[in-house]
């Protein structure tokens, strides 16, 4: 057994390169996706909905997924739920490009980076795949509808009013956000600032820190904020992992009651802190409903029952939703506090 290592190496390279190039070349001009779609239509023909979260482990999206699966079962569609394990816009593009060649019927994406993902979504549309977005929008021309979990005004007003109530309408507060480039958070933040300036000028925002959608990073940021701003009266955490992260930081710093915590998050992740009195209120929409509505809208877009120009949309057991322009609206945000948090288990 003595083959020259060079020869094996060279053979390996040649085989691999020629396989790659051969495969690329052979079918590059035959419109492979179309070919496969028609072939697929005989064999299996339930609609395939591909649902992408910003990151998979995030409890917010896990909860969306529960609603999405319920809708998929009701509608008899095939649901693929995949996304980056950590928020990573480039990885989102790669997964979407894979979905395009896989031949899904509709892609529903929560976008980490608006401009970045639009390249991939535009490619999907060019291949005849329907696109909608939910949670965080892409550029408007690359999707038919955006399932809007709550209007930015609604969210900002709920947050600012809660903050003003808890702070006695004066003092310093800080915001922890997911990333400084996330489209939805920037939008909320703009409205928070506008409302603060017009309605509650005695409130002062002293810092805005990103936490990369990670709980431990949020906890570290909150700890820094607590020592850097001794007069801080409230921290507003506007991405879901940041709410328990911030609460833990406040608790460990022994500043419960002195520094209040509010935020956008899941009741289940915050129940402990709400009951202990660390976190005062958690504001959110019903995330399961968001996933449920998204899958219903995605399916309706494929079968033609949802078209541009519609003003209402019926989604299974949840009833009717308003469509404003190309936004399907989920409705008003909901405030979870000590009194009602036990009634929700998501």
């Amino acid at each position: 057994m003595r083959t020259s290592p060079r020869r094996i190496g060279l053979a390996a390279v040649l085989v691999l390169v020629s396989v790659l190039f051969g495969a690329c070349d052979k079918a590059s001009n035959q419109g492979p996706t179309d070919a496969l779609r028609t072939e697929g239509s005989d064999a299996r023909r339930s609609i395939t909905v591909a649902l992408m979260p910003k990151s998979k482990g995030n409890a917010y999206f896990v909860s969306c997924r529960n609603g999405a699966e319920r809708a998929a079962k009701e509608l008899g569609v095939e649901l693929i739920f995949d996304g980056p394990t950590h928020p990573d816009p480039a990885k989102q593009n790669e997964i979407i490009e894979n979905w395009i060649t896989l031949g899904v019927d509709v892609i529903a994406a929560a976008c980490e980076n608006r401009d970045g993902i639009s390249t991939a979504l535009r490619k999907a549309q060019a291949k005849g795949i329907k696109v909608i977005t939910y949670d965080s929008d892409a550029q408007p021309d690359v999707r038919s509808f955006f399932v809007n979990q709550a209007t930015p005004e609604g969210i900002a007003s709920a947050l600012v009013e809660e903050a003003a109530r808890l702070m006695g309408d004066s003092g310093e507060f800080a915001i922890i956000t997911a990333s400084l480039t996330a489209a939805n958070m920037n939008e909320w933040q703009k409205h928070i600032e506008a409302l603060r300036a017009s309605q509650h000028p005695n409130l002062k925002m002293v810092a805005l820190r990103p936490c990369d959608d990670l709980k431990d990073r949020a906890q570290a940021e909150a700890t820094t904020l607590l020592s850097a701003y001794p007069n801080l009266k409230l921290i507003m955490a506007i991405c879901s992992p940041a709410v328990p992260g911030t609460a833990e930081a406040v608790k460990q710093a022994g500043k419960v009651g002195q520094v209040k915590v509010i935020g956008l998050g899941l009741p289940s992740e915050n129940r402990r802190y709400v009951k202990e009195g660390v976190t005062d209120s958690v504001i959110l929409w019903k995330t399961e409903d968001l996933g449920y509505l998204t899958v219903h809208a995605a399916k309706a877009l494929v079968d033609g029952s949802l078209k541009p120009g519609d003003t209402t949309f019926r989604a299974g057991t949840l009833g009717s939703f308003v469509i404003a322009g190309d936004h399907v609206l989920l409705g008003q945000p909901f405030i979870f506090n000590k009194a009602n948090i036990d009634q929700f288990d998501f």
């Binding site: 390169v17 070349d25 079918a27 492979p32 996706t33 995949d82 401009d115 970045g116 639009s118």
Partner: protein, 344 residues
């Protein structure tokens, strides 16, 4: 170990070729499996996807390999990719350079950054692991500073995006760049005295020095090339993604190292090959893509591919150790009266 050095090298080289043959079988098995079980796996578009998605990690792996061959490591390549991506965007948008000129400057910047690593390693005699751990943070930090964490460069011209999304003769544009660099690195490592000196340095830096090899110059070259090619990867990444942001290429250094080690390169230096590295990259790329096409694993593709890549890596390392052990034992019994010509 009383074995003559030439025997030891020959033994390792043979172990390496056996490793490559084994890895080639694994890759073929993967392709065969996903071809049958995966949905639309073997289509031209999907093969093109796989190639596009692995070009950057592949480029980094190609230039990581010679560095690991010298017994070093470069943890900064992923961060440098991010820095080069935003500097390229900056040069193109804010300094108003045409994109080819901006790309050229970016490659220059990448080389300088690689040179910076090299100076710290060769002049200050710091371990590469520590130096590049430092520049890993430094380059990423610079990228974030340049963009203040929020700025992103986008709206590149179509002629540039063609690099990332277009095809030449049916093959993704960036694959041609990859093949050119692949051939270049292969010639460099396997057909010139540079490659031999990298191995010699990896086996024993002092020995290489006494053998008259300009160790510092060779090491510098390896790190500068790594920097330059990281910049090339930054450009193909930006063209593929259509956006340059400070977080470009996060974690790519580890993906590249994984591919290199999977490809049979010893992390202690001295042993490794370009074809092996290519197979390492391909093995991971096929696995990641294939898992997202099997109905049962579609929704867990990212987690499973991480898990299976890890398992594959440990298996490959285990098999490598075992086969080396066996071949050493065989050799030891006949070492007395047989001399092997060194074949690498």
């Amino acid at each position: 170990m009383t074995l003559p050095a030439s025997n030891r090298i020959a033994g390792r080289a043979e172990g390496r070729s056996r490793h490559e043959a084994l890895l080639l079988l694994v890759v073929i098995a993967e392709i065969g499996f996903f071809w049958m079980a995966g949905r639309n796996f073997g289509t031209a578009d999907n093969v093109a996807n796989m190639v596009r998605h692995s070009v950057e990690v592949g480029l980094l792996a190609l230039v990581m390999m010679p560095i690991i061959l010298t017994g070093g490591i470069d943890l900064s390549v992923g961060s440098l990719l991010g820095l080069c991506a935003v500097l390229f965007g900056k040069l193109w948008r804010d300094a108003d350079l045409s994109w080819p000129l901006a790309a050229l400057c970016t490659v220059g910047i990448g080389s300088v950054a690689g040179g910076f690593n090299a100076v710290l390693i060769t002049r200050l005699r710091l371990p590469p692991l520590i130096v590049t751990l430092g520049t890993f943070s430094l380059f990423r930090g610079l990228a974030e500073a340049v963009t203040r964490g929020t700025d992103a460069f986008t709206n590149f011209p179509d002629s540039f995006l063609f690099l990332g999304a277009g095809r030449i003769a049916g093959v993704p544009t960036q694959a041609w760049i990859f093949v050119a660099i692949l051939v270049g690195v292969w010639l460099w490592v396997h057909r010139t005295t540079f490659g031999r000196s990298f191995r010699a340095i990896g086996f024993s830096p002092e020995g290489a020095l006494y053998a008259g090899i300009p160790v510092n110059a060779r090491l510098t070259l390896a790190y500068v090339v790594a920097g330059a090619v990281s910049a090339v990867a930054a450009i193909t990444y930006t063209a593929r993604f259509g956006t340059a942001k400070a977080d470009a290429g996060s974690g790519y250094e580890l993906a590249a190292i994984t591919a290199v080690v999977l490809g049979g390169t010893s992390i202690f230096g001295g042993v490794g090959s370009v074809p092996g590295t290519l197979l390492g990259v391909a093995g991971i790329a096929v696995l990641t893509n294939g898992l997202s096409r099997i109905p049962a694993t579609m929704s867990h593709a990212s987690e499973l591919s991480g898990l299976l890549t890890g398992a594959l890596l440990l298996l490959a390392l285990g098999a490598g150790v075992l086969s080396r052990h066996i071949s050493l034992r065989e050799r030891r019994s006949s070492a007395q009266n047989r001399r092997q010509p060194s074949s690498s």
